[in-house]
């Protein structure tokens, strides 16, 4: 297939071949489909997730949550609960606020905020006199068992005076809307502007066409299969608070809680994560329960565990997306894009979660305009409060919203102008790199059209008309949907990665990044193996413990391989250079004569040689070393992002719609991705597919629904909130375009984690709308449930 080094399906073939490889035949370097080292423990049930770990003398916590979307707390009676069997402690707001803790911090220092009435309303682990969403924690009960804690929580009586609530994003900024933070004077959290408004306006005035689209990016729930969970511990002697967490950003959590909430030195707090059963961003953040278990441990002197029930996860884990947008595209007479105007209201929920304000702003403008030449862009965002669970980052965070706007708008333009969606894309792709985007970033490289054509060929775009006719003959409507997405790798911009030489001739990677299933244990070891020739089974891996790892940027923004992997590569290269200097000394040779290959330093033309581990031991044990030789090869490498990199690609979906029922059958789906250099195709393809199915879920099934007025959560279980299942999706062939290598980082990677969720929603929606086009349907909002599609067909 033109442009692709792996055709879609190749990753699967690689996997098959890998399965037949005999032990000892495997290659472990960069680019190899190395089997994941972490998997054996997972396959046998030996993974150690938070709820699998043993803690002596453990107690269990349960949260009493607000049943109201908005109410004043008038009384709290914990008498019965305190007297209930097995109850160890009851933490009321009175107890909590007596601690003098500060509010949970959120990131509000964002360039482009032009108006902010109450940037950061105080959010505490327990409600302070007013509850602002259903599920807000009010009281924390600790007991000898989970069931005793839950039973006692039922006995807590809270008196409420209900207040009017607003959950509807489209109306929360109305003048007569109930106010969530009256101190702010409105429900506007802040307003954000980016781009040249006057230039965009001028472009629209001179344009042949103005394409307008009102769309909703639906509120969804992250729903990792392992629910959130925490165990708090307190060591009275040292005064150390420990949080064991199913989480993804241990250093950030520790630093935020230590500085802002507990007001202690970071050293007196430890955050540690074992195996984590998925997170997708949602487990990055400081949650009320994380604070409560530590406080409870301190007050009771015993470890305290809280594990989210699934229904609690819907109430108390951050939600995502939830934007209402008017997007407009100025198009010239030839179908070329002239300007893009985006006006969004973004739901923050009842207050600001850690990265909530960043998602619709700093994490979204970076990719606005997508893979096309759009000379002028202006973006305006109003972030609004509602009586709902706070909204925060979830796989893609801001970039899926930008991609959805652009890819839907392009199809709307094709619809309005009567141009084929394929043709209008071909006319507008960025083809000259580097390309300076009007909002400020520069795309260093890419092959957008090549990647697009590869995907088109893989799905058999040319034969689509025949397939459509065959569907129509069966009374079905068939559609094909294109989505050429642009992503930008974000997250914490710097990292430190240690390569520590151990006394048993192994080397340990101490990673400040965090894998919750992304296979770092394997991909990182490939980098070390490739650079240092160390046998794969001599490379250890450690992450997720602030006591063992000094600093870390954690998880987020598809950063790990780009930032963490590049840092590790630097560490390994520096080990090699230190080793070379040591070899000069130990082998008593001239620097120019030292060769390094397969983990051995050798003196050219002689049989004098020494292995890396032997060399490390020699320098460590040597008494007097010259200044040129480091006393150990253990190295902490550093890397800081200077330029952004741009994962991109094309998703194409083909669907069949049953006009009788509105049911959408996803028949075929192909993904062509440009992630830069591929370190492990098995892992990269897994990221692409997993992300895509999350995006497919958003497009077809998922939607968090609060009842207007009451603010009650309708979608509070997996029966009400539909996740994609094995029968929802077809095969998902993935191919990689490695034709546009990036030099934005030493590893040459672009990032893979969020791309799937970024590309998928528009591909699905465009496909369904393509099927409905003969019925005159121009736009529908996600999720495209059978009922919604059926109603559109009835009206169409």
């Amino acid at each position: 297939m033109p442009g692709l080094t792996n055709s879609p399906g190749a990753a699967i073939d690689v996997a098959r071949k890998q399965g037949n490889t005999r032990p000892g035949m495997e290659k472990f370097g960069i680019g190899q489909a190395v089997r994941r080292r972490e998997d054996e423990r997972f396959l046998t049930g030996a993974g150690r997730y938070i709820d699998d770990q043993h803690f002596a003398n453990l107690t269990h916590g349960a949260v009493v949550r607000s049943p109201h979307a908005h109410a004043r707390i008038v009384s709290i009676d914990t008498g019965e609960a305190e007297a209930a069997p097995g109850v160890v402690a009851v933490i009321t707001p009175d107890v909590y606020f007596a601690q003098g803790f500060g509010p949970i911090p959120a990131m509000t220092a964002i360039d482009g905020i032009v108006e902010g009435t109450l940037n950061h309303p105080p959010r505490h682990a327990l409600a302070d006199a007013t509850v602002r969403y259903v599920g807000e924690p009010v009281v924390f009960v600790v007991a000898e068992t989970k069931f005793k804690a839950l039973a006692a929580a039922e006995l807590v009586t809270v008196g409420y005076e209900e207040l009017p609530a607003v959950v509807d994003l489209a109306h929360t900024l109305d003048a007569d809307s109930p106010m969530i933070w009256p101190e702010a004077g409105s429900n506007l959290a802040f307003r954000f502007e980016k781009g040249d408004a006057a230039g965009v306006e001028a472009a629209f005035e001179g344009a042949a066409h103005r394409v307008t689209l009102d769309l909703v990016n639906n509120r969804i729930a992250p729903m990792a299969i392992e629910p959130r969970g925490v165990v708090g511990e307190y060591d009275a002697e040292s005064g150390t608070l420990t949080l064991n967490v199913s989480g993804q950003a241990v250093h950030a959590q520790r630093n935020q809680m230590a500085a802002a909430v507990f007001k202690v030195e970071p050293d007196s707090m430890r955050v540690v994560a074992g195996d984590v059963g998925g997170g997708f961003g949602a487990k990055n953040f400081v949650y009320p329960e994380n604070i409560l278990v530590m406080l409870a441990a301190k007050l009771t002197g015993r470890p305290v565990k809280w594990i989210s029930e699934r229904s609690e996860a819907f109430l108390s884990e951050v939600h995502a997306r939830d934007h209402v947008t008017r997007a407009e595209l100025a198009v010239d007479a030839e179908g070329r894009f002239l300007a893009l105007s985006v006006d969004t209201i973004a739901n923050m929920g009842s207050c600001l979660s850690t990265m909530g304000p960043v998602v619709p702003t700093a994490a979204s403008w970076v990719s606005m305009g997508g893979t096309y030449v759009v000379p002028n862009i202006h973006m305006s965002v109003r972030a609004a409060y509602t009586n709902t669970m706070p909204v925060d980052a979830y796989r893609g965070a801001g970039r899926p919203e930008a991609a959805y706007i652009m890819e839907r708008l392009v199809d709307a333009a094709a619809f309005d102008l009567g141009i084929d969606p394929v043709e209008i894309r071909r006319r507008n792709f960025v083809r000259d790199y580097p390309y300076s985007m009007p909002l400020g970033l520069t795309i260093d490289c890419g092959d957008f059209s090549g990647t697009f054509e590869a995907a088109a060929e893989a799905i058999g775009l040319d034969g689509f008309d025949g397939r459509r006719a065959a569907s129509e003959a069966r009374g079905r409507a068939r559609g094909i949907g294109l989505s050429s997405y642009l992503e930008v790798t974000l997250g914490m911009p710097s990292e430190a990665m240690e390569l520590r030489f151990e006394s048993d001739d192994t080397v340990t990677i101490l990673a400040g990044t965090h894998s919750t299933g992304q296979g770092h244990e394997t991909a990182y070891a490939q980098i070390v193996h490739e650079t240092l020739g160390v046998p794969f089974d001599r490379i250890g891996f450690r992450q997720g413990d602030t006591a063992a790892i000094a600093v870390g940027g954690g998880h987020g923004g598809s950063r790990s391989l780009k930032i963490g992997g590049s840092t590790l590569l630097r560490s390994a290269q520096s080990v090699r250079e230190k080793g070379r200097a040591a070899a000069v000394h130990i082998l008593d040779a001239a620097a120019d004569d030292i060769e390094f290959a397969d983990g051995l330093f050798a003196v050219r033309g002689t049989n004098r040689r020494i292995g890396l581990f032997e060399l490390e031991r020699a320098v460590r044990e040597a008494g007097d070393l010259p200044e040129t030789v480091a006393p150990t090869l253990t190295t902490v490498g550093r890397f800081e992002r200077e330029r952004h990199s741009f994962p991109n690609g094309c998703h194409i979906a083909e669907v069949d719609v049953d006009p009788e029922t509105g049911d959408v059958d996803l028949l075929a789906y192909v993904i062509a991705d440009d992630f830069g250099r591929i370190v492990n195709p098995l892992i990269a393809a897994g990221q692409a597919r997993g992300g895509a199915v999350q995006g497919i879920g958003q497009a077809l099934l998922e939607g968090v629904v609060y009842e207007p007025g009451s603010g009650q959560l309708f979608t509070g279980s997996l029966m009400d909130y539909a996740l994609p299942r094995a029968d929802t999706v077809p095969d998902l062939p993935v191919g990689f375009n490695e034709a546009a290598p990036t030099d934005t980082n030493p590893l040459g990677v672009k990032g893979a984690g969020e791309a799937g969720a970024t590309g998928a929603p528009a591909a699905i929606v465009n496909a369904v709308l393509d099927a409905l086009k003969p019925h005159g349907v121009r736009h529908l909002d996600m999720p495209l449930t059978p009922e919604k599609v059926w109603r559109a067909l009835l009206q169409g």
């Binding site: 699967i12 996997a15 098959r16 890998q18 399965g19 489909a33 089997r35 994941r36 972490e38 998997d39 054996e40 423990r41 997972f42 396959l43 046998t44 049930g45 030996a46 993974g47 997730y49 709820d51 699998d52 729903m223 990792a224 299969i225 392992e226 629910p227 195996d275 984590v276 059963g277 998925g278 997708f280 029930e309 699934r310 919750t516 299933g517 992304q518 296979g519 098995l682 892992i683 897994g686 597919r689 997993g690 992300g691 895509a692 199915v693 999350q694 279980s717 997996l718 029966m719 996740l723 994609p724 299942r725 094995a726 029968d727 999706v729 095969d731 998902l732 799937g756």
Partner: protein, 158 residues
């Protein structure tokens, strides 16, 4: 309430335990018997992470009472590998990297094993429908389905 004494067979071995009358089999396995391979993803029968077999029948252990295990044969993820030797399903899932965070994986393996015991030659559609009771948020299912098909083929040949 007094506890109930239960005698059962677990992964081929006789086991006895005391449990509360309202305690689920999942809690018994995890909290009393130390078998934490079965996971709780929902507690309501919606995710399949807690899959075990009872007398060969695939069930959600979060929906079965510990007391119901009396005189039954219970199989869990811990009994799937034979010592050091992975079951073909486990091996194929490993080969395909058909897992990411791994928390759903024990449930998928137990469910797929139950499928292959009753249908050694399933079509892809049959695999997808059978596994539709198991949620995975990470993989997109593609590689899991492929691994099960591959394992079925290998087991038929063996």
């Amino acid at each position: 309430m007094s506890q109930i004494h239960v005698s059962t067979t677990l992964n081929g071995d006789p086991v006895e335990y005391l449990c509360e009358p309202d305690e689920t089999l999942l809690d018994v396995l995890r909290d009393r018997l130390g078998l934490t391979g079965s996971k709780e993803g929902c507690g309501s029968g919606d995710c399949g992470a807690c899959s075990v077999t009872v007398d060969g029948r695939l069930v959600c252990s979060c929906l079965v009472l510990g007391a119901e295990a009396q005189d039954r044969e219970i199989e869990t993820i811990e009994g799937v590998a034979q010592g050091e030797n992975l079951h073909p399903l486990q091996q194929k899932i490993l080969d395909h990297a058909a897992l990411q965070c791994g928390v759903c994986t024990p449930g998928f393996i137990v469910a797929a094993k139950a499928l292959l015991e009753r249908n050694p030659d399933p079509s892809e559609t049959e695999v997808r429908y059978w596994l539709a009771g198991n949620l995975c948020r990470c993989t997109g299912y593609d590689k899991i389905v492929r691994a099960v098909m591959d394992a079925a083929q290998e087991m038929r040949g063996a």
